[in-house]
Amino acid sequence: MSIYRPTPTDSFPTDTSVLQGETEETLSKHIPSPEYPAQPLNRNAHLQWLVRNMVQGFPTRYTSQDASQPWLMFWTLQSLSTLQAGLDSGNKQKAIDTIMSWQYPEGGFGGGPGQAPHLLATYASVCALANVGRPGPGGGWDEIDREKMYKFFLSVKQADGSFTVMRHGEVDVRGIYCLLVVATLLDLLTPELVAGTPAFLASCQTYEGGFSSSSQPYFSSGTLLSSPRPPLGEAHGGYTFCALASWVLIKSFQPPPYGVDIDVKRLLRWLVMMQGSEIELGGFKGRTNKLVDGCYSWWVGGAFALLEMLGMPAARTEAPTAHSDTDDEWDDVDGQSYPLRPSVVQYSTVPDTLFNRKALQEYVLYAGQHPTGGLRDKPPKTSDAYHTLGCLSGLASAQHHVTPSTRRREEITLLWESNTECAFTEQRKSAFIDALAWVEEEGASKYVGSSADRLNAMHPVFNLTMTHTDTMMGHFYQQTVPPRLMRRNV
């Protein structure tokens, strides 16, 4: 029997509440108890699972992702990086060669060799290369055909500022996020490329505060009307992350036109409302009245850091005094103490998240981990590559406080060299500096178990490690990036 309150059903059951009730029953069995002690991060099991997929290959059921081979690669490599692991140089080279075989002769990357270029596949390929690639012959980075890629990007641009994911493909904000990440990493951003895109993104925000997949434009004799531009589909965690991250990237490059904006207050409310209650172990949902799911640990949990780029300050926690050997912070308001004692950190005032970062860690550790390795949507499901990265990145974002740093910004600015002759050098510089200004704040990390569970902090926009981001952008912008203080862990 769970000690936590089930979601009230008001004696009025419907399909939604019945499914919710069943899920809560399953999840509550994963709340640690004296018989079932809390699980630490099963690092070795996950590493083995990831390496097995990588070296031996994926089982037949993954045929449904044959057009997502770059994703399988990215999810796996990025999960390894999150776990502070990497490939040996032989396998790295194999990975690079595999990824490069997906590049399409006319620009962009496809879901596999010979497959048509696609924005999502392009993001996954480039971000996989951020993990394993390098400059120079055979390293992948310099073999990316940036010119043709830019042409591919322009070829899928639509009149309303959006992009289709491929030729004859659908419009949605995932594609825009993927395009903007790649364009930012590879120094391909231009005013031409992003013209009209901020207004499109803003039009996808729904009355709930989150974002939908796309919106419907209306034209009057060829001119786009500013209203109506109704969102197609309800507010959704994945689209919300993509829209918000896109907004942050574009805003760094150039301010949105007058009158075009998003409602940050309503967005924040929607984001916090996506967190499930204690009986759901504090996992995140992707839509109102849907079930919690491990992948939203990143899509929704990871979105909070982005709000700081929009001027929403981090919550501050006043720590009491250095007296206690128990951490105030992690004792819940109802006085219910948890079976696991968190590691004690003492500080005067530390930044904190506006969501319950302790609960999110618990969801990933107690419900997200599959006993035989890999992570998952929720029990009793099996693990898969996508949910493994979603859970791990979400866990990392709940462990660390990653924030734009003024000092880091100054350091990067100091080393910036004006090295192009384009008409938008200041915008280019600003996009570069903003993207690299994120830092993991010292002393602000917290772990539900112990610091042995530490994961690498992720770049909140790209979902890459800070080091990979620094190196890749430094290379493509031909800039010197000041080194970061490396933490030694594990």
């Binding site: 997502s68 010979g114 309303d160 030729r167 997949s213 309800e234 849907k290 969501f355």
Partner: protein
């Protein structure tokens, strides 16, 4: 349909095509273990991509691949290209898709393919963007020129979507396809039945957020619903009634907030409605029945956190020391008792409200 040989490699009708293996000269990391049938079909597909052949047998090939992997977007893309090149009957293709949409409900590509077909089959409205010739061939000869027939076809399409939604009431692709169909063709007759239709779905499951979103889309966001004051009052009354049925339902509270925000109405207009939902059940007197402000049902579990949040917003909007004090009390009760998982957020609201007072 007669059964063709299991593998193209054994089919004499395909002997002229040179199959291309997926990886040549690369020993891939993280490969997928395909079935022999899938490997065979995609090897021949790569062969076709190379020659650029568009033919009936290519339609058969892409269909076979799609059956094994409906997310194979290149197969879909090439199928579309082939249909156009052959001048195939797109009605037939649409009927074939009826089956696939239901079978592969959760795949982006089936819904998008459908959208491409419908766009070609029916005349484009004047409000749609002028298609760029390269990305949209828009062969007018394929289209229905009779407007009544077009309307009938659209109505049929809505009926088809309804059937799909009864199998999966929250399918994102299906819902956004319906919203696209309505707003793209933008036919007044199509919009007309929509509120009544979605009302049935809300009645079936008052917690179906997709249905609530659709209602908002039709009545407000699309710009084509009724916008008069009466209509707004009706929507508010509808939401109140659904709240009274089962107050702990975030979908309907979000809808109510959406209506107020969209029409710039102050939250305080609903203060007397909300108050009974913020206190325990037993303290209420049952004798007064107010049709305008329905009371919580007997089974309602109170106090309702969503109502407390709403009332706090009412107070905050009112402003002034006393009102903000009341809001702070309510937020504290959420942080410490009724919605503890969001403690940090409620504390943030308190800090923000107090800060603006200074």
């Amino acid at each position: 349909m007669d059964t063709p040989p299991a593998l193209y490699a054994e089919d004499p009708a395909w002997a002229d095509v040179v199959p291309i293996p997926q990886y040549e000269g690369v020993s891939p990391l993280a490969p997928i273990f395909y079935t022999p049938e899938y490997k065979d079909a995609t090897d021949y597909f790569r062969g076709i991509l190379k020659t650029g052949e568009t033919s009936e047998r290519v339609l058969e090939l892409t269909e076979r691949i799609i059956r094994m992997n409906p997310a194979h977007y290149t197969a879909w893309q090439y199928r579309y290209k082939t249909l156009l090149a052959l001048g195939s009957n797109l009605e037939d293709e649409l009927r074939l898709m009826d089956m696939y949409c239901i079978k592969y409900l959760k795949t982006y590509q089936v819904w998008h393919h459908r959208r491409l077909l419908v766009t070609l089959l029916l005349p484009a409205p004047s409000t749609s963007p002028s298609p760029s010739p390269s990305s949209n061939p828009n062969p007018t000869h394929l289209q229905t020129s009779n407007p009544t027939l077009a309307l009938l076809q659209l109505q049929e399409e809505l009926d088809f979507i309804s059937r799909c939604l009864s199998a999966d009431t929250k399918n994102y692709h299906t819902w956004s396809y319906r919203q696209w169909l309505l707003s793209y063709f933008n036919h007044p007759r199509l919009w007309r039945g929509e509120v009544k239709w979605v009302e049935r779905l809300i009645t079936e499951d008052v917690r179906n957020n997709s249905a609530w979103h659709h209602r908002f889309f039709v009545v407000f966001a699309s710009g084509h619903g009724e916008k008069g004051e009466d209509a707004v009052r009706e929507e508010i009354a509808y939401a109140k009634q659904k709240i009274s049925l089962a107050p702990n339902n975030a979908s309907v509270w979000n809808y109510l907030r959406g209506v107020l925000d969209h029409t710039h109405m102050p939250y305080s207009t609903l203060k007397s409605f909300v108050e009974p939902y913020t206190v325990e059940q037993e303290g209420r007197s049952e004798d007064v029945v107010d049709l305008e402000d329905p009371l919580p049902s007997a089974g309602a579990e109170l106090p309702c956190a969503l109502a407390i949040e709403f009332l706090a917003d009412v107070h905050e909007q009112e402003g002034g020391v006393e009102a903000v004090r009341k809001a702070v009390e309510l937020w504290k009760s959420l942080a410490n008792e009724y919605d503890t998982i969001r403690k940090k957020y409620w504390e943030y609201r308190i800090r923000e409200a107090l800060a603006t007072q200074q």
